[in-house]
Symmetry: C2
Subunit: 342 residues, 2 copies
């Protein structure tokens, strides 16, 4: 196809980022193929959407790993899976009209024909469009249910959160504070740590780039860790496991330290501590909570409007920011929830 050789996206043609080949270890430029295929005709039930915002998430690494997971991997040639928000420009569905805004799996593309049954209508009176990917989107819902329903924090408990300045982690930290917990965030770099203690009001922040996490954690949490919300895996998970308390809960939300090379994932060497401490490692995804989204939506919007939930958005411009943007996540170079504005 001649379209595969085009590099400009200034034309009025749609642009799609497609999976070219599964990365064996590291995601590279060769992982993707850019196309400018015209949109198909609308079939019954479908809607045509002009995308406005795309969400970049660590979970994308799993979607391009050809391994059994909670949803089938993206297949080579398919448009890369992504959450997005867009405006309906044409509809062959009874449930959507042009001008409606929708969210769901839109893919990394500028325009799309999507199955209306898989999209959710959103109301911009509640929140601006981009918020449906940030403070009131899947990321925020993940933080909400992962902390409250899986982790079940109790007032007075010590909660530790890794990737604490990240999209999920920063919301987890704030909700844990609302619950009356002592909250310690782990993040990379002084700027992120200052954000955690000064802006988000955490009790302590640990800069994992500045020194050993175990010593810093012993100082910040002398009474041990009751609940650990893990987004990173690797050395930090191992360090925290050595300081968990009896009946501690480890909420396993992600393992981004292991996502660069999915062929060489390193399991937590200290996992046998869960025997010694009668502790639990529990995984979850949002598919467990799809029917409870309204509850999280109302709570998050309320906190946000009360100033009790701060969400930092890291906004990239244009669809061609996608490949480098994804790398930012794995390098920890993003500050807050990473989105692309189109």
């Amino acid at each position: 196809m001649t379209s595969t050789t085009m590099t400009s996206t200034t034309m009025a043609q749609p642009t799609q980022y497609r999976l070219h080949a599964y990365p064996e270890s590291v995601v590279t430029a060769d992982t993707w193929r850019v196309t400018h295929d015209p949109l198909p005709e609308l079939a019954p039930g479908q809607i045509q959407v002009r995308l406005k915002h795309l969400s970049l998430d660590p979970g994308m690494r799993g979607w391009i790993t050809p391994k059994r997971s909670y949803m089938p991997p993206v297949r080579p040639g398919e448009v890369m899976r992504a959450f997005g928000v867009g405006e309906v420009t044409a509809s062959a569905s009874d449930f959507f009209q042009p001008g409606d805004h929708v969210t769901g799996f839109t893919g990394i593309q500028t325009e799309a024909v999507l199955d209306g049954r898989h999209m959710r209508k959103i109301d911009l009176a509640f929140a601006p469009a981009r918020s449906y990917l940030t403070s009131a989107g899947m990321t925020a819902f993940t933080a909400y249910f992962g902390l409250l329903d899986v982790g079940k924090p109790k007032a007075g408990e010590t909660v530790v959160v890794s990737a604490a300045a990240g999209a999920v982690g920063s919301i987890v930290c704030q909700i844990a504070k609302h619950q009356g917990c002592r909250v310690i965030g782990i993040a990379g770099g002084a700027a992120k740590c200052a954000y955690l203690t000064e802006t988000l009001g955490l009790d302590a922040a640990i800069d994992y780039k500045a020194g050993p996490v175990d010593a810093a954690l012993r100082q910040a949490a002398p009474g041990g860790v009751d609940l650990y919300f893990d987004n990173v895996g690797g050395d930090i998970l191992d360090a925290v496991l050595m300081q968990i308390n009896y009946r501690a809960r480890v909420v396993v939300c992600g393992g981004i330290s292991q996502y660069l090379d999915m062929g060489q994932v390193r399991g937590p060497a200290n996992y046998l501590q869960i025997i010694a401490q009668s502790a639990t490692l529990q995984g979850f995804t949002m598919r467990d909570y799809l029917d409870r989204i309204p509850e999280a939506f109302v709570a998050l919007l309320t906190w946000h409007s009360n100033g009790k939930l701060k969400v930092r958005e890291h906004v990239l411009q244009g669809i061609d920011a996608f490949p480098a943007g994804l790398q930012m996540l794995f390098a920890g170079d993003n500050h807050g929830k990473l989105v692309i504005d189109l």
Copy 2:
């Protein structure tokens, strides 16, 4: 002390196996020191006990690892910790009389002066003395609570058990069958596997020494694994994790494949599957259930007397069987619950 050079235990003197030094990786002959120290005078509350049976358990490896765990490690010079059963020969406690039988942490020794508050009186009318270490002892209680209370099996579910012919595993398998589960045992060697299917009536047995566990498990559990009771860790845990079902529970009871070299424990590389499957890895020890022992005792005795619980005892003779006996556990050379008769 001259007693450390003695090798004979035929004398009437007490014999003690003491920890000489923490093994850096593998337990060796140098780990232990044999003494024949005379018994101290009885202090108030103490009892003098002649040991009859000693229990050898994988957990012993953790007790001689100088790392934070559910109880403090044995210190160099101390008698090696062990469960045992013995007869009271003298008492300075109001609660015990000579002729009583007791169980608890007696240590690896032939006679001992013990604190009566830490010993439990047992009734040989219910079961013979050795059974209090086997079918009605901590091993059996561990199987009972680990499966029923931590794992929560439901009728019709597929339950997989590793070290299934071992002391804990074989009881777990049988209780899971009582619950109406489909039960698959993993063990090493054709003899153990035949025991699992023919004597214990399991639905399938997988010989991990005969070929890849993943392929055998796919065949034995085409519908996936709902509950995995893990005694071994390592490759087998990783293989099972790839075949767990949505909301599966992994009961982490032990990790004997990793006990040979506690300095180089390998965590489960496939642990991120618990995210994909919203699954749980949960650890426990019997300290969580000490107040519920009577419930387990009655259930196990009842099953045993009804012929619904078969417990194989692997009996070694004499205290000097201890060092080699412990190695048998790590090599998987024992057939059933390993005990020493004195």
